[in-house]
Amino acid sequence: MKNSVEVKNISFSYGKTEILNDLSLDIKEGEFMVLLGPSGCGKTTLLNCIAGLLDLTDGQIWIEDDNVTWKEPKDRHIGMVFQSYALYPSMTVEKNLSFGLRMMGTAKDLINEKIKKAANLLQINELLKRKPSQLSGGQRQRVAIGRALVRDAKVFLFDEPLSNLDAKLRAELRYEIKKLHRDLSNTMIYVTHDQIEAMTLADRISVMKDGLIQQLDTPKQIYNKPANLFVAGFIGSPSMNFLKAKFDKLNQNIIVGKKQIDISKYENINNLMNDQEVVFGIRPENINIEKNENSIQCKVELVEPMGADTLVWTSVEGNPISIRLEGSSNFNLNDEISISFDINKSSIFDSKSEERI
């Protein structure tokens, strides 16, 4: 499949502070790409560079086989949705939607037709005559999406569009954005720090930190096989449990304090060296409460019922461990439990390089 957006070796700095350094990223046609990372990781800067709102220090941006590096934002065939909605406060919803088309000198009939179509799609028909100040947050963001929609943009850019909304609305609009992508199949680039949004929306996620792409893969791969400790800790809520350990090649064990965990089933066990210092990572849902020859005895220290799930906190050799269990499970403080790890689904990282083994 051909690429819709190509970011080629771009660098960007504010004065002497380097934000992006020699970053490359290809986004396929019709792909939903999510840029995910903590604040300050450069994801919004990257999006602004693609939009042409920031001038690159070095490198090129291509959109639809066109080198747009020096082009104005308006000539890049993009539509953008902002976290703060950025609706023009003095214009009605209708004028907001049509502003871009009016600037291009589009014929009135065509403008009306496009507005009608977008308004139907986003269910904002009855809001067209209102001012942005008379809309709720969710309605405002719908209008903002509509504004990108009417322009027939080839690429949609979303800059944390749902961050200002409450949890319920966020889930609702997330669903709508996904539906929109299904129906329009435009290329979409979506910046967020919310991993749920990233997991649910993305075809591929690019996890960023300090201006570098840490991992670029499907949500499934990123969740199950995180490339390094940072990605492993960032993705997943409640987050992955980590245990510092040492590999014992002879017994195919890792040693955590006084406890031993059999990891003979780990996929890349052959890449481990004897006495190698590692970090053993296991997701809360991949820990089972069952007694077998490998299980570890511990005590329940805290119980967090979350409705669908129950999170049980315990500790192994002083390391806190969370276990995700069914909502119906019943545990009390100080209950003795035996836990065992699903080694197939675990991740082992080198403790120096922090890379997955």
Binding site: G52, A86, M103, M104, R151
Partner: protein
């Protein structure tokens, strides 16, 4: 006997409140005093003024001073009152305010949103410009205008007012625009606006409050100006303030205090009126830009 606390707490007039009101009332009286003296003096005839009871109400109302101040009092060689000065002041103020406010809005917009190389330096220059006493620049400006051939003319004085108004106005516009969300500007750029289009379609419609503040500042500042009008306007375009001075500073004949008082009130009517109808905006503007009143 004691009532059980329930609902809103009852309000008591505290000593602090009373003190505050006393202070406010005294301040108001202090500042209203001169106005009171001016108004009653302008309504007395000269005999009564000579009796020197400055705070007494007039025994007999006399409206002789007002029409004289407006259309007959002598300002130097001619005796047409303040009327020509009023017309001149309008001719100076209106274009100066429009030009300076429009240019400053554009400047502020460019400084806030189009961060060109050296924008901060330019901004600093504006700050600096706003605090230089303009007396320093009077003579050089005079020579420049003389060279350009507009010294002592209406365009000459308008240019001077525009120049002196721009630093402070650029500052307040820039600060106002800097407080607007930058995303709005980004959205407009993606929607196809260029420098001018974004200014006209997106920024200006949002500028009402700060424009009102700027207009108030400029109208009062230019209307009240004496020095620049005296130096740059030329004899034919002397503003009201200069003519008022000529009325008050008589070298011969009798000093008619009632005429002086009414002439002064007439001259200050415009700024007074502007403050009166726009006090709310004015306070907001001062608070927003933290600028001089």
């Amino acid at each position: 006997m004691s009532t059980i606390p329930k609902g809103p707490r009852p309000k008591h007039l505290t000593v602090g409140r009373i003190g505050l009101y006393c202070f406010i009332i005294m301040c108001a009286l202090f500042f209203l005093m001169p106005l009171y003296v001016m108004i009653i003096t302008s309504l007395k005839d000269m005999d009564e003024i000579r009796a020197a009871n400055i705070l007494n109400l007039p025994k007999e109302l006399s409206f002789y001073a007002w029409p004289k101040a407006w259309s007959q009092a002598c300002t130097g060689f001619v005796c047409e009152g303040l009327k020509p000065g009023f017309v001149n002041s309008v001719k100076i103020t209106v274009p100066s305010v429009i030009v300076s406010v429009a240019l400053s809005a554009l400047n502020g917009y460019a400084l806030a949103f189009w961060r060109f190389r050296g924008a901060y330096f330019f901004f600093g220059l504006c700050m600096f410009g706003a605090f230089i006493p303009y007396q320093v620049m009077v003579y050089p400006l005079l020579k420049i205008e003389d060279f350009l051939g507009i010294y002592s003319s209406l365009p000459g004085i308008i240019l001077v007012h525009t120049i002196f108004g721009m630093p402070i106005l650029t500052l307040i516009f820039r600060n106002f625009y800097a407080s607007l969300p930058i995303d709005l500007f980004k959205a407009a750029r993606i929607d196809g606006g260029n420098f001018i289009k974004i200014f006209f379609y997106v920024i200006i419609p949002m500028s009402t409050p700060i424009t009102i503040v700027a207009v108030i500042l400029q109208v009062t500042g230019i209307w009240n100006d004496f020095l620049l009008g005296l130096v740059f306007a030329g004899r034919d375009n002397q503003p009201m303030t200069v003519q008022l001075n000529n009325i008050v500073q008589v070298d011969y004949g009798v000093a008619e205090y009632n005429v002086d008082m009414s002439a002064t009130i007439l001259t200050s009517l415009v700024p007074l009126f502007v403050y009166f109808i726009s006090g709310r905006w004015f306070v907001r503007g001062i608070a927003a830009g933290a600028i001089k009143g």
